[in-house]
Each structure stands twice: as C-alpha cells, then as structure tokens.
Symmetry: C2
Subunit: 65 residues, 2 copies
C-alpha cells in the first residue's frame, strides 16, 4: 500500500478523476481517497512515480506521504 | 439571462458537470459559473425549472437568485 498527500481534491468528481487516472495505468489498482485527510492510498503494481504522475496529470499536487 | 444560487460547487469538475448538464437540455445554452459567488448564470431557451432540474440532477442544491 502506497500513501500520497494530495492537495486540491474537493469533491466526488475529484475522487472519480484520480481513481480513474490510476486505474487507467493499472486496472486492478485499489484506490482509497480521504478528502478530509487529503490522502490517496493505492494498492497496485505501479511504482510510486507512476502513481504520482497519474495524479499530477489530473492537475493535483501530490507527494509520497 | 437566468441566475441561480448553487451550493456545493467546488472545482473545475463541478463547473464542467453543471455546464454539460444544462447543455444536454439545450446545446446552445451559454453557462457562466462563479465558484466564489456560488452562482450559475444561464442564457438559453430553457425554463427556470428545467435549468434547476438539470443542476439538481447533478447533486447540487440550487435556487433562483
């Protein structure tokens, strides 16, 4: 399980956009997002860098937690 | 021009969702959304009720301004 701090997530659309962006790179990825804590947890075969890139491509600032 | 007060809009995804919901009912509709002011302005052939319904179907609370 990888955990990332992500800024700018504000609503269900953001949750959906980030989840789909990660799952576009690994369809089997499990993604849990906590808007209040501003965290994204990912269980997948992807590298930390690949997940970070997917999130950033959606327009969010992200860093490993 | 109709103006609506809309609660819960928080980001560009919300802007896109509401704009597309209104334009699904009138493709020629012009939609201007001010997140800070929480307002949606619509120039279209739609009735006030039709616009309200489109916005509410996206999950937002809305009322004529």
């Amino acid at each position: 399980m990888q955990t990332f701090n992500v800024q700018g997530m504000s609503c269900g659309h953001c949750v959906k956009a980030i989840t789909e962006a990660v799952q576009a790179k690994d369809p089997a990825a499990q993604v849990q997002i906590d808007l209040g804590a501003r965290t994204v947890q990912v269980q997948s075969s992807l590298s930390v860098d690949a997940v970070l890139q997917a999130i950033k491509e959606e327009g969010y600032e992200a860093s490993p937690a």
